[in-house]
Amino acid sequence: MKKWIAFWNILLKDVRSYYLKPPNISWGLLFPLVWITMFFIRSGMGMDKLPDLLPGLAALSILFGTTSVLSVTVTFEKKGRSFERLLLSPISLELLMLAKTSGAIIFGTINALVPIFAAMFLADLSALNWYIFIPAIVLIAISSTFLGLFIAVSVKEVFEAQTFSNFFRFPMIFLCGLFFPIASLPIFLRPLSYALPLTYGTDILHGSMNGSNLMPFWMDFLVLSGFCVVLFYFSLRNINKKWIT
């Protein structure tokens, strides 16, 4: 019980201090909308093509939303020393990091829901399998958050976290099949695609939209969960090694 009071309050503080701040709210809303608009202007496609774009947009919103906030909630607090207070409190490192990341997971999920809600008014989503789509969104949010965590605990400065995460994020837009099928990538890049968690998440989203998944759903879910576990494990190991000197 005591542990959960701590967990809940860490989450609540982050939500209040970071996620509910106007810049973050506007970022969370604007970013996906800007992307949607940009795509339609660029491609000159009609609204009927929106369902094809939706998986990529949702994945992109999650990726950028989660990885950006973690460099603040973790790296910034580490620099300001307030993170020490958390390390000194009687809760396990696992629970502490789950509390610190759950805000980002919720934020990422909500980020993804913005383009989906927008799309519901603009296009016909009746073919969408929500029972697969929503769990996939949550799992993508978890894996992106843990990727953000991994980056945040590997660097010292907030700006390093931003640069380092861009190093991952931008290639992922192209490599993970968000907007172009992986099959259209040069053959030597394809192994790289399969080494990135988002590829599997995007595959589920595409599949739930129009059945165009490359791998069976169970395999996508399994691999994505595997990434979550591995990223979380290595993040904790890094914290243990680097921050408890």
């Binding site: 201090s17 009687p90 809760i91």
Partner: protein
């Protein structure tokens, strides 16, 4: 509240903290070198030493922020060597630099800190209000921590350290960089806390602070403990030592030469005020004044000096009192809360 030491009987208490041969190195620096000590229940134990002596490193290891290279730590019977988190629910920590949240108000900071220890909302709020009152921060309760003055920040950091009523409180240089009045108030709060049963581990480089607050002191220099003892025993060290100081109309280097020539049994050294003469036997001032005046020196003042803890510290550690003073001034000018 008074700045009075609690009657600590010593000896027969249970040890609350037991540290054996603790060592910690950072690359090529040995920050802490095989230190062993214990802190008894109900006492204020002081770590006194200059900058870089290893005080903060020791606190970090004991509280679980840092891992030792070797040695063992037992806190309240719990083995913290392997599991540094074992005793974290029993301890409160006030770091040398505040680690509260600048964007939260004083009140919210305290409530949040309490929640980390699993205290329920109603109790958290009550306790936060009570502490803000005690620490004279009630007016500032709803202001952001970032806008607090140094003294206010330090007080709130102490309040945050005790909000969960820890059995042991670690204080890292609680009064450094704080004005005299606030420092005095903080020392009173520490004494009061101790009177209510909290055991305290305190680091400082103010000798008077250690003398006023602590029951026992460890002198730590360059990562090594050079002496641990009660204030009474440490002061006893200077008993039987007699010191007399002479001041002159004009400064002179010759005074000690004249005295050494005539009274070789006396120890004489030049100090900023004039000269200082030491002897295991009572010093007769008359013959000395006559000798100095015969040599053309005009003695303006002769005074008996009572021994202080500072003298003991200098004697044991070999560290010049002036050096600690200098550090103090530096900290006062550039210190941070």
């Amino acid at each position: 509240m008074t700045e009075q030491k609690r009657n600590w009987t010593g000896g027969n208490q249970e040890s609350l903290i037991d540290v054996v041969k603790l060592t910690k190195t950072f690359e090529d620096i040995i920050a802490v070198n095989e230190i062993s000590f214990s802190v008894d229940e109900g006492e204020i134990f002081g770590f006194l030493g200059p900058n870089g002596a290893g005080k903060t490193t020791t606190i970090n290891i004991l509280t679980g922020l840092s891992r030792p290279d070797s040695g063992t730590i037992v806190v309240a019977g719990l083995d913290c060597t392997k599991n540094p988190k074992a005793a974290q629910h029993l301890i409160g920590i006030v770091p040398d630099e505040s680690n509260l949240y600048p964007e939260l108000s004083g009140f919210d900071n305290l409530c949040f800190c309490a929640s980390l220890y699993g205290i329920r909302k109603k109790e958290r709020c009550e306790r936060a209000r009570e502490l803000l009152q005690i620490f004279g921060l009630r007016e500032a309760a709803n202001r952001k921590f970032a806008g607090y003055s140094k003294g206010m920040k330090r007080k709130l950091t102490i309040a945050a350290g005790i909000i969960h009523r820890p059995q042991i409180l670690f204080l890292d240089e609680p009064t450094t960089g704080i004005d005299v009045a606030s420092a005095r108030q903080i020392r009173q709060l520490i004494s009061a806390l101790n009177s209510n049963g909290t055991s305290i581990f305190l680091t400082t480089h103010y000798i008077e602070e250690a003398e006023r607050l602590c029951n026992r002191i460890a002198f730590i220099v360059k990562g090594r403990i050079v002496r641990i003892d009660t204030i009474e025993n440490l002061m006893g060290q200077t008993q039987g030592q007699h010191v007399v100081q002479f001041a002159f109309q004009t400064t002179t280097d010759k005074a000690c030469e004249y005295i050494k020539a005539e009274f070789p049994e006396l120890q004489c050294k030049t100090v900023s005020e004039g000269i200082s003469i030491e002897s295991p036997l009572p010093i007769r001032v008359g013959p000395l004044v006559r000798l100095l005046e015969d040599n053309g020196l005009e003695v303006t003042e002769a005074k008996k000096i009572l021994p202080t803890l500072e003298d003991v510290f200098v004697k044991i550690t070999g560290i010049e009192a002036g050096m600690m003073k200098q550090e103090k001034e530096k900290m006062k000018m550039g210190g941070n809360a």
